[in-house]
């Protein structure tokens, strides 16, 4: 049996608007992925710990509050520190254009803005996730 792609969906920062996080979590699950939703107000440390514990192939961060330039670098640095460089990191939310190259430069691979079809995100993850546990 093929290993399912394992995705941690996290909602970092103080914001509680979780509609996007929940909708995409369900869409990924319906697309056959194993989805772990961390819930609200996760620190970068908690998110990376969840990814480690869950053997995640992908981390999806939902950020609408404008805190992405603080949260994403912290998550990327912790992943590096824990030897999780191959975890695919994607971000969904309200991200100003000027910040997109800045996020890409630190290793965020997919940045999905409002109006992105769910299927596009599913396809992106299928294409770019490197399974950490090979098929058994």
């Amino acid at each position: 049996m093929a290993h399912k792609i394992r995705v941690v969906i996290a909602k970092p920062g103080l914001d509680g608007h979780d509609r996007g996080a929940r909708v995409i979590a369900r869409a990924l699950r319906d697309a056959g992925m194993e989805v772990i939703y961390t819930g609200l107000r996760q620190t970068p440390e908690q998110i990376v710990a969840a990814a480690l514990q869950e053997d995640a192939d992908v981390i999806g961060l939902s950020i609408l509050s404008g805190a992405h330039m603080h949260i994403c670098p912290a998550v990327m640095a912790l992943l590096e520190e824990k030897g999780l460089r191959d975890v695919l990191v994607v971000v969904g939310g309200i991200i100003p254009d000027v910040d997109i190259p800045r996020l890409e430069a630190i290793g965020v691979r997919g940045i999905f803005l409002p109006g992105t079809p769910m299927q596009e995100i599913v396809d992106f993850i299928r294409k770019h996730a490197r399974l950490r546990v090979e098929s058994v």
Binding site: R29, Y37, G39, L40, S65, G66, A67, H68, D97, P114
Partner: protein, 540 residues
Amino acid sequence: MESRGEQSERSTRRGSFTTVSGRPIQPLHTPADLAGIDYRRDLGDPGDFPYTRGIHATGYRGKLWTMRQFAGFGTPEETNTRYKQLLAAGGTGLSVAFDLPTLMGRDPDHELSLGEVGKCGVSVASLADMEALFDGIDLGGVTTSMTINSPAAMIFAMYLAAAEKQGVSWKTLSGTIQNDILKEFVAQKEYIYPPRPSMRLVTDVFAFCTEHVPKWNTISVSGYHIREAGATAAQELAFTLRDGIEYVQYGIHAGLDVDAFAPRISFFFNSHSDFFEEIAKYRAARRIWARVMRDRFHARNPRSWQLRFHAQTAGVSLTAQQPYNNVVRTALQALAAVLGGAQSLHTNSLDEALALPTAEAATLALRTQQVIAYETGVPNVVDPLGGSYFVETLTRDLEEEALAYFDTIDGMGGMVEAIERGYPQKEIAESAYRFQQAVERGERVIVGVNDFVEAGEAPIGILYIDHSVAEKQCARVDRVRSTRDAGTVRASLARLQDGARNGENMMPLLVEAARAYATIGEMCDALRQVWGEYEEIPVI
């Protein structure tokens, strides 16, 4: 996604005809649909029970709605400048958007505030910030709405202390504090304490204002966020009004006379894109509330029966693609709110799917309301859609759906109990997912997003909040802590904890702490130690 183009086979429309909430719509309504609707009993003239046609006999002829634009960003000084611009441009009320640290009861230098200070609203950590926010604005001469919930009582205490320092009597203060914690558990998720102590803070504000700040609207029971989280129109209506019922029950349980506090309860609804469904929603809301207050709670004062509401156009309907389309969406949504009889209105700015609005975008949003008010002629007649076969049918259908939800929630023991078992949260999540699937399948067209798409759009200029705001706010809170009387602050925080334990009304104690320049984080932490913090069990 491929655009079908303007000249497509769209002239022969197939498939289902449904509202944005998924409600099937019949092709035609006739007098037969109104069988069973009695004019006097179910509609009444405007100004008459059950207020379906509006709470004022003269509609907008006596007074237009208040054009109240929600604004706040960066430091108190920056937001103060924006307020003065809005007032100079003809805005008639202020509405404060606070940043996330403030909304969550954290000081700007708390570790969880990192990256969030001044981003989604203005940062207000102590009385010093509140004074700067309203510097040069006479608090006796404006009405102020404050969107704050978990720490509503703390922020309101700071506002009262600021008014005192301006020499303005509390008796003359007029405005609204959102103070609606139930919808935080249901939808917006900015909660601090568990539901029961949170409800106590709400009823403490009711009791305090009845005596000391009689013109203040003590709560704005909000469907806006419930709708934004994905609820249908009927769910927004049902959960909001059921929240309202819960507050009235808790107020009565706290020993208040219903007619002493119910007239100061106001509501806040979304104005979404489905034009007639929204208008019907407001009309149904007034009818349901009037009957609930008279028949369920036996209120005798007609002001307790009258549902007054603020409306805001639907942020969730705005698109990052082709952002100028948002001006049109907002105008139509605003018109629906006016036809539904809103007492005040906020129109969103075209750039809000991208960032907080620029000053130009915020002005255009206000102009949209002014065009409706002064050019369309719509406010010249009261409830122009009253009696429409379609609108009255929709009004009745929405009412019936809401009442069915009331039965379910009553069966669970009430809204607090329903929230504790995650019922409204699950209902809303289901609706949100169904909506997104309909968009994905192309059953629901969003212009510029899944149809009529344009490649290579030019970006528009947006407001960018930089990190210097956080530095300034951290420096100010530092300065406040080093210049105030530390002993007075310590004593006031200890009194808060005592009050929380012994069941006193918390408001006078919070005002004392605010006067002493205790910070929002200190006040909220003192009560976190007594009441604990709420944590939601994450479900998808």
